[in-house]
Amino acid sequence: MSAGMSWDAEDEADEAASGPMKTFFDERQFLRRQVLDFAFAALFHLLERALQRILHQADDVHSEGVLQGKKLRQFDEMCRVLARCGYDTTGLPFARDLDKLKLISNAVKHGQGVALYRLAKEFPELFLSREPTETLVFEHLSLTPELFTRLAASVADFWDSFPTQQPVLEG
């Protein structure tokens, strides 16, 4: 407070309000970040779940000829099974984006860990700059709505490129 200015009840109320206000803004910032981060994880979850169901259904139809008794645990395994069954996504334009989405999803779900380090190594452009000696933490990961749009388009491309049953022509 400057010299000569009186400190009144309104000033006191403002000071009392500034703490909760800062907390409010910090929480909103945190909430928005969490929602965006988990949107990536949910996008990947929807892809993985749908693919898993398709493979299990095909396995039932083909008398376990698809999974051959193996359990499906990871997305990479699912892609390998899919490649063996006629849809090899290796090298397709969206493949690297799916790998990126998988690592983002794991980093969001598990925080500090292997996925975060792999993500930083393979996709350093997703991280805020830091000093070489600074320890990598989850907060360095900077996800954007633009990236979400792009990865969602890649997931849509994955489905769109899936081999399709040809319609039976009459005559």
Binding site: D14, K22, L46, A50, V61, A152, W159, F162
Partner: protein, 67 residues
């Protein structure tokens, strides 16, 4: 001789549903969910100044964010 692995194919309908669901989820997240959490500028509330945070202020600002 090992059995040939079966081909996995989708019907056009399945493919359309999966593609549409992905696009719809992305659209809803970007156009509804994230804008609803639009971060008001603390300056707009004169943080720490005479203006104090009121629900009506926040509501108005968030509505503004929906653009």
């Amino acid at each position: 001789m090992a059995d040939e692995p079966p081909c996995i194919i989708l019907t056009l309908g399945q493919k359309e549903i999966l593609t549409h669901a992905t696009t719809a989820y992305a659209k809803a997240t970007l156009e509804r969910l994230l804008p609803a959490l639009c971060m008001p500028d603390p300056e707009a509330f004169e943080l720490g100044g005479r203006g104090t945070l009121r629900d009506s202020n926040v509501g108005r600002h968030v509505m503004g964010c929906r653009g």
